[in-house]
Symmetry: none
Subunit: 428 residues, 2 copies
């Protein structure tokens, strides 16, 4: 699918025995996506010569470029350079300038250089050196002949800041230049975000769409409680941007119509960001009153930097006494309808709007479980209230009982969605 096939090989015992979490693969994937490229495969192997060499050879059969991370240190278990050389069928050379740089770095720090650091200047004889400004170990690029092709092996230190430096300052510019030379293709993506339908149900609704558009790659991802659907379209890099954009938009529109109203938006920003943007555009402020979500709804809104011009705050009214003392819900109302009811949800929203002096307030009261459910109001029952200058409304939901944490997440996401709908309706 991509014009340059890229594979990753992470090297190090510590990545396999639970000591270190490899973040380089994910970071490279993100960076490549930005220039329309994708990883074709990633592997993690221990500091074992045989496994490193055979992985390089086998990745060479599926990739044009292999990036290795790790194994460039000064100790005996750092064997990347000799393995890359072995895979390429060459020996090692001593890189005089790299060694001089290393020595100078130690001198600048006033530390004597341990003799073992000399190892770090032994590079594959056919490699080009990549200057590493963040550490002593140089990176290097080695041509690996494979089946009549030449695969480029880029070797970086595993330390994240050194890896990222060489990735961003050496590899990505080289890939970009190579893409420009090849008149490659570009990937155009549209992301649909859906709340309230299972991944499988969305897949079914898109089955006809997938059949009608075999040129579109449809990717599904469950990001609980949302499902994210991505449409990926491959077009020549010199295709007209406006035309391509229109085509992608039309496809997204068609897919959205097929899925139905569980799709709340197209794009990459999270639901709370969309809510904040819409409210900010209209100069509105918000307050929240939460019972079963216990702070999660306010947390999601304030996760976003810059939320303070829209979010005034909230009240976590976990106990009924707090619903009464802080939100002015009447004891009679609590008595008559119970805390999980339309009346109490509306009273909570009104109370939050009044006391926090917000344009709009949303409230949440429900049974998150595991206990507290009744036959009338089983676990998963939630009432939402929205109050603004035009009045107060309430909405009832019964979520499936996927457990306390998930019910709280579904509730917070649904509250955000209700606010979004409310504000967008007012816009029309």
């Amino acid at each position: 699918m991509t014009t340059i096939r890229i594979a990753h090989l992470s090297i190090g015992d510590e990545l396999l025995d639970g000591r270190i979490k490899d973040g380089n693969v994910f970071g490279l994937g993100t960076s490549l996506a930005m220039i329309g490229l994708e990883l074709v495969e990633a592997r993690i192997v221990p500091d074992v010569r045989l496994q490193i060499v055979s992985s390089l050879q086998s990745l060479a059969s599926v990739a044009d470029v292999i990036v290795t991370s790790g194994g460039l240190g000064p100790t005996s278990d750092d064997v990347t350079a000799e393995c890359v050389a072995a895979a390429a069928g060459v020996g090692l050379r001593f890189d005089e300038p790299a060694f001089a740089r290393m020595t100078a770095m130690f001198e600048a720090r006033g530390v004597p250089m341990p003799p073992s650091n000399r190892r770090q200047a032994m590079l594959p004889s056919t490699s080009s050196t990549l200057e590493n400004q963040m550490g002593t170990a140089p990176g290097f690029v080695t041509p690996l002949p494979h089946d009549g092709r030449v695969v480029q092996v880029w070797s970086f230190p595993g330390v994240p800041r050194e890896y990222e430096h060489l990735r961003d300052d050496a590899l990505l510019p080289a890939l970009r230049a190579r893409l420009d030379g090849e008149k490659p293709t570009t990937l155009v993506r549209r992301t649909l975000r859906s709340l309230g339908l299972a991944e499988s149900a969305i897949g079914e609704r898109l089955a006809a769409f997938e059949q009608a558009h075999p040129e579109v790659r449809v990717q599904y991802r469950a990001a609980f409680p949302e499902v994210v659907v991505r449409l990926v379209l491959q077009v020549p890099a010199d295709a007209d941007l406006v035309d391509t954009g229109r085509r992608a938009d039309a496809l997204a529109h068609e897919a959205r119509a097929a899925i139905g109203k569980s799709v709340w938006g197209v794009g990459d920003e999270p639901l709370e960001q969309r809510v904040l943007d819409r409210m900010r555009a209209r100069g509105l402020t918000i307050a929240v009153a939460e019972s079963c979500t216990g702070g999660l709804l306010a947390k999601r809104l304030t996760d976003q930097p810059g939320s303070s011009d829209v979010v005034l705050g909230g009240v976590v009214a976990y106990a009924n006494s707090v619903k009464q003392s802080v939100l002015d819900v009447s004891g009679a109302e609590l008595e008559a309808h119970g805390a999980v009811s339309a009346n109490v949800a509306e009273a909570m929203a009104r109370g939050a709007r009044t006391h926090l002096r917000a344009d709009l307030a949303i409230s949440v009261t429900g049974v998150a479980g595991p206990s507290g459910g009744t036959s009338d109001k089983p676990v998963g029952t939630v009432w939402f209230g929205i109050a603004d200058a035009t009045g107060t409304t309430s909405v009832h939901k019964k979520f499936p009982d996927f457990g306390r944490e998930r019910i709280r997440e579904m509730t917070a996401a649904t509250a955000l969605r209700l606010v979004l709908e409310h504000v967008e309706q007012r816009e029309r």
Copy 2:
């Protein structure tokens, strides 16, 4: 090094194109380390049949057990079962009981099951089914004949909680049983939980301990903002339980003393659970008043089922107007000291305690960034207030600027720790 060689295969486009960071490999590595096993290799491949099948075959040559994650969903890009079957040279079977469980799960939730979910019950014909209590897709174990040996392929969903459930409840017991067949030992563990010191600093403080006790395996895990240190002691399976427990307790005590007071507890329960337990034991109730954490502190307390007998609720006083209108912080105080100050933190705690009628209130006001910092009060500056029947105190912290999200997490955890210390001091 290991007696059972284990490899991992993560399956999914989203793991290679920068959408999702694979955490399952790291988690498995950590779990295996606890029973003295290690991964021999890990790979990530896209949802491409040919690549999945050839990876299974090539991993079979270096491993006795292969764990796959992902690709068990109901949509067309979920192809793990058919690829495992292909690699094993068998067809698919329809798992009636798994399908019945799936149907029942949907019914219990009151949701109709989409027909495409039937796909999830199509498993390799020679596989054994693993019941998944966290989701619809069953896991399965398939024998893969390779070079006269039989490699076990364990296939789990990629969703972390489902993966972890099957890892911990099916795979690890099976591996342990297989190991026990070889050498009957038991692992005894003690977990120290620390807040406020970096992993490397803890490692340094434990260097002498590690040298003095080579028989104890010390594992470090950063669970931001905490660091979790585990002491693992391997003893013969028939060792005296009481003696062994005493020895483990003594080791934990010694390690705790070496690390110092950043350790807040020994055990597996989270900080908020410890706070709730201590307060519940004393019959105390709590209210929170949050500014920069925006609901996160209340959320953490109410994450715990059964928290409602201790947690009354809270006020998210994001805007200064809310600090005034709901928490009675005076305009003069805000004017004189600024919102991020000892005076305002104390006033917030007092206001929350009074209005929510709690025994104890904790408040948080700080600069989470990215903007809002000044030379006086840079990003990361936080004031905490605690009010109870004996009066009000405040504590100042300057957290390193690791970004908004981490500052908020450090702040919430520190607030919980302050409450714990406060309550435990009162106990003495």
